[in-house]
């Protein structure tokens, strides 16, 4: 086996040959046969095979024999192969069947993780989150909303009382589960006609949405939908989902290098919005169920939804968007109008 020999702890190299002697020694000799070093095979540290890179045999004296003859080394090691770590990984890499299997396995696991793993992890984490934590997150969240987007409500106290009464009746009917829901009035800023729930049960209603509402049932529907988010802990789940996906991608790819940054951002966004649509559907179902239980008509919610869309995108409705985080309005409205 031909190669190069580096002298102990030195960069100086000579062309050399490695042979196995009858006595079981590995002998490194010059091309003309002069002895460079020799040692029992067991005492030689042989680097594991990787693609077609040169193999290095670290001799006990500190010298090193280097050769491109990978097959020759493997033959030399022969039955000693089990003493070396990592050889099986190389056999995987060189076997087409193993590579195809690895592709399918990785794809299946990633898909399974995205479909079941992330939601399950986020749900488990959300359930394990103590109340004080949810309260802190919500308080901080509302504070930052107030600083950047929301303004003080301009609703009259009569208007606020009307909304509060509907909210209280829902609370009374147990629509908030074992949470304590509280109504918060704000002017929407650029988020306009909107309502959203914080993890600890604070539900923010914007003045713009209040003014868009035409009946009490519509407003009750909005509240019930948001209470659904609170009861199912959707807010916390979204927070956890947002951090679980990039963490997973980093673990799988080793480290996030420049090539993959954009490639991490976009899938995360896509996956998150699809989870979010599921949450909206769940909250809609919860609202429909709650309204029916209270003897009200869920179809009122559909009317409000359509009005909101018209205000946002004109008479033709919003363009269909698969990036949007709410399911499309027509489908939601249809679900709300369905008979029980």
């Amino acid at each position: 086996m031909l190669g190069r020999y580096f002298f102990p702890n030195a960069a100086r190299a000579v062309h050399a040959r490695a042979v196995k002697t009858d006595t079981g020694l590995l002998r490194i000799e010059e091309l003309d046969g002069g002895l460079l070093t020799e040692a029992p095979l067991q005492a030689v540290k042989i680097s594991s095979r990787l693609a077609n890179l040169p193999r290095r045999l670290a001799m006990p004296n500190g010298g090193c024999f280097e050769t491109l003859d990978n097959d020759g080394i493997d033959a030399l090691i022969g039955e000693m192969r089990h003493l070396l770590g990592g050889g099986w990984i190389d056999r995987f890499e060189r076997s087409w069947r193993a590579v195809v299997f690895a592709i399918l396995f990785a794809a299946a696991m990633v898909a399974a993780y995205v479909i079941w793993g992330v939601p399950a992890t986020a749900l488990a984490l959300a359930k394990a989150t103590p109340d004080w934590l949810a309260t802190t997150i919500s308080t901080e969240g509302l504070k930052s909303f107030d600083q950047h987007i929301l303004k003080d409500s301009t609703l009259t106290s009569a208007e606020q009382h009307r909304a509060q009464a509907l909210f209280d009746s829902l609370n009374h009917a147990g629509a908030c589960g074992n949470h304590h829901c509280e109504l918060v009035f704000r002017q929407g800023g650029w988020i306009k006609a909107n309502a959203f729930a914080l993890p600890d049960g604070h539900i923010v209603l914007t003045d713009e949405l209040f003014r868009l509402v035409k009946s009490d049932d519509e407003l009750t529907g909005v509240f019930a939908h948001e209470m659904g988010h609170v009861v199912y802990a959707h807010g916390l789940q979204r927070i956890y989902q947002a951090s679980v996906i990039p963490a997973f991608i980093i673990v799988v790819t080793g480290d996030v290098s420049q090539v993959s940054q954009l490639a991490v951002l976009l899938p995360t966004l896509l996956i998150e919005t699809s989870y979010s649509r599921e949450f909206e559907t769940d909250a809609d179902r919860y609202a429909i169920k709650t309204l029916r239980r209270m003897g009200k008509n869920p179809a009122a919610m559909a009317a409000l939804l359509e009005r909101m869309e018209k205000q946002l995108c004109g008479p033709k409705g919003c363009p269909l968007s698969w990036l949007g985080d709410h399911p499309d309005t027509a489908r939601r409205a249809r679900m709300m109008r369905q008979l029980p």
Partner: protein
């Protein structure tokens, strides 16, 4: 300057790996990492680095990487614990977060030095290892003090901060006890940053104008709120233009800085490195790689990495004064620093 010294001989760097080879390593690494819930990824990193180092050849020899997966695993566990502790405390207990931040201020330089040293010591060329001798204090100045100075001067001293960081990195490295030295021109660094800023503004302005024109002359949206909608779109278009400009100019500027730093580096006071990458080609490689990785659902990733590395190495040369073999033999034959014990020093790779 007089030409008293012997002529310099050019040795081109060469990447002898290929996409298929790395693809097989990558996919097996990926599958095993998933199977072991991420534990194998430390060993995967060793195989990856070994492959890239081992495929890098210059002057008839290749590089090698010797780290043990276990050390990388421990390093990652420590880094993860620190990161989690910091994230959680910042989010939920701000006072504790401040404490963590202050401690982190001093821990971070240590992590940086430790990681650079770990990788240097585990990298070898011709049976001789690299080493890194930068200190924690120097790292604190280079990675903490200077960026801070750069920030509070509104970026005016940012190029200087970049220079300090790169000089610290290069000058700390040695190979068999002989040092690298970077003599980076401050004027040229400022020129690059100024150019980058001007280009980003110009490109963003051009793209922004084009987008706004397209929107205002494209199919109009009817309805009472069309004005508002189009205003929103305009803002979106301008933001998009800025992002696009940064996405293209960013890698180009990064490449120019890399060229400058590498070409300003000498080894053992007489040998030189030279990097001649084209900023435009590198920017194109970055952007097209990102797009291809995205549309192939990640499968193109190995080819993307190999493509970028090959381009970088194809434009990197080593200028050796005199004959490479005789220089190496003479200088690195009986070096005491060469055989330094690696395992005795506490150093880990934290993935920085």
């Amino acid at each position: 300057m007089s030409q008293t010294a012997a002529a310099k001989v050019e040795h081109a760097f060469e990447f002898r790996g290929n996409g298929w080879e790395y693809f097989r390593i990558w996919i097996v690494n990926l599958a095993l990492s998933i199977l072991t819930l991420g534990i194998f990824s430390a060993w995967a990193k060793v195989r990856t680095r070994r492959y890239f180092n081992g495929s890098t050849w210059v002057a008839g020899h290749n590089f090698d990487y010797h780290a043990s997966g276990m050390r990388i695993l421990v390093g990652r566990a420590i880094a993860l614990a620190l990161l989690l502790g910091y994230e959680l405390s910042v989010k939920f207990l701000p006072p504790l977060g401040v404490l963590f931040f202050l401690v982190g201020l001093f821990v971070f330089p240590w992590l940086v030095v430790s990681s650079i040293r770990f990788n240097a010591r585990n990298t070898s060329y011709r049976n001789v290892r690299f080493n890194f001798a930068g200190t924690d204090v120097e790292a604190f100045v280079a990675y903490m003090v200077w960026p801070f100075v750069g920030m509070i001067t509104m970026g005016l001293l940012w190029p200087l901060a970049q220079k300090k960081k790169d000089t610290f990195y290069v000058n700390g490295h040695n190979y068999g006890g002989r040092y690298f030295e970077a003599d980076i021109s401050t004027a040229r660094l400022y020129a690059i940053f100024t150019l980058g800023l001007v280009l980003i503004i110009a490109l963003a302005a051009a793209l922004g104008t084009a987008f706004v024109y397209l929107i205002s002359h494209g199919p109009s949206v009817s309805g009472p709120l069309s004005y508002l909608l189009s205003k929103k779109l305009m803002v979106g278009a301008v933001v998009l233009a800025i992002y696009a400009a940064i996405a293209f100019i960013g890698p180009a500027i990064h490449t120019m800085i890399l060229n400058l730093v590498v070409s300003s580096t000498t080894f053992d006071e007489k040998h030189q490195l030279k990097s001649t990458m084209s900023p435009i080609v590198m920017a194109w490689i970055f952007i097209s790689n990102a797009i291809l990785v995205l549309i192939t659902l990640g499968l193109f990733y190995p080819w993307a990495r190999v493509r970028a590395r090959r381009y970088q190495l194809d434009h990197l040369t080593l200028l050796i004064q005199g004959d490479a073999d005789s220089y190496v033999s003479e200088v690195f034959d009986t070096q005491s620093a060469v055989g330094e014990e690696i395992g005795s020093v506490f150093s880990f790779d934290f993935g920085l």
